[in-house]
Amino acid sequence: MKTFLEEVNEMIGGVPIQRCYHCRKCTAGCPLAFAMEYNPNRVIKMIQMGMKEEVLGSSTIWMCASCETCVTRCPNQVDIARMMDALRQMSIESGRPAKEANVLKFHNAFLANIRLGGRINEPIMMVQYKLASGDLFSDMAMGVGMFMKGKLSLLSPRTRDMKAVRDIFAKTKP
């Protein structure tokens, strides 16, 4: 059986994360570190220690905004941003509930919206998100304001070849 470290390294497919020597440059430059449960370099250590439950169940993996500052500055080319993607994907595929449930609900609403019309229709996507998250009333005034300005339209252009788009979703389904 593969260790957690081996699983993560295999998904990243680049430099093995154990090249990290914990200089903490990733954490020092991470704009979301202030809001994270575990700092990025700590996540690497936890993976090495096999702490799968703690890592995949953490809020950190959902708070990463994918700004890619960490991988850009890492002196060892560890692709920490890609690692966060891989951890999120592992968490979803294992059926664990996301610690930051609304972040995942947003992603799901966004992708469901692409499946619907090939392109994002922002008002409909927001309705999809709001129904899923139960967060019905935040940003309502802002949404109405944008609607009045003509920035949001229920009838936005769609992709014609929707079969091609749906095929992509069907064939990439884990």
Binding site: M63, F110, G150, S156, P157, V165
Partner: protein, 282 residues
């Protein structure tokens, strides 16, 4: 020159003024745009955060469609630009992945067309001298900070864009239009991206910091090339720190005396017209 054009979803909706101003300045600069046939969404953060293959296959479909026109493809949205460059990066270096993605998309990927942001095309193909010559109304008194954010720049070996810690392309363009571009240290800091919907409080903190630092640099506005940055800065910043935010193409159109800017400015949440009126620019 003629290029393929991928507007992406935002440029028809929340980033409408970016889409319209890109078209207006392209026309005025003699850049003909040929929209990519029947394009679909690049998948953005939501695809790569949840499903790696989906995040490559979605932009691959668009890249393949663009390849049929055999021209560079202009991608104004920083988020789409990043997904296109990332897809190219993986498709070019990983043969096994490439054939898998080709069978998912149902078409062959050739490679070889360049994915380009208008900041690059205006700076390097049009040139700043030509641009300055077209600026009939210099942006005197405007003190912008250039805000590049994340997705045009990082990771640098994928984006192949500008200096990734101190980018200068936008500064050059704004300077050529006569603006007094302020230097600051937050050019490439993150705005919080798509967390704006699900973790709003965190994004407010991040954009407030950007606004505060722009003020410290004595700027009177911020300028961006990304609809996500625009949305976060323009709509999430707290009232006591906020400054007007522009797309760089809006300011190009304003300086070039083109039709449209006043209508675009009305679409902003933070109305930039009082600032511009005070400077005699509208």
């Amino acid at each position: 020159m003629k290029v393929s054009y991928y507007p992406g979803c935002s440029l028809h909706a929340t980033g409408k003024e970016y889409g319209q101003s890109v078209r207006a300045v392209s026309k005025a600069l003699g850049i003909e745009l040929k929209e990519v046939d029947d394009w679909s969404c690049c998948g953005a953060t939501s695809a790569h955060s949840t499903n790696f293959k989906l995040s490559i296959a979605l932009p691959a479909r668009d890249l393949i469609a663009a390849e049929r026109d055999a021209m560079d493809v202009m991608v104004p949205c920083a988020a789409c630009f990043n997904r296109f460059k990332t897809a190219q990066h993986y498709l070019d270096k990983d043969k096994a992945l490439r054939s898998e993605i080709e069978s998912i998309v149902g078409a062959r990927y050739q490679g070889g067309i360049r994915v380009r942001n208008p900041l690059d095309i205006v700076s390097n193909d049009v040139g700043l001298d030509t641009l300055a010559g077209k600026a009939v109304r210099k942006l005197t008194g405007l003190k912008p900070v250039s805000y590049y954010g994340c997705l045009l720049l990082r990771p640098p070996e994928v984006c192949e864009f500008d200096d990734y810690e101190n980018p200068v392309l936008m500064d050059g363009i704004l300077g050529a239009l006569g603006a007094d571009v302020r230097s600051w240290s937050y050019k490439t800091d993150c705005c919080g991206g798509s967390l704006t919907i699900s973790k709003t409080g965190i994004v407010v903190k991040m954009v407030d910091k950007l606004m505060t630092m722009a003020r410290e640099a004595e700027a009177n506005c911020l300028v961006t090339a990304c609809p996500v940055c625009m949305a976060n800065l323009d709509m999430r910043a707290s009232e006591h720190v906020r400054l007007p935010v522009f797309y760089f193409t809006e300011l190009m159109a304003l300086a070039m005396g083109l039709e449209g800017p006043e209508g675009w400015f009305k679409l902003h949440n933070i109305d930039p017209r009082p600032l511009l009126a005070g400077l005699g620019l509208v």
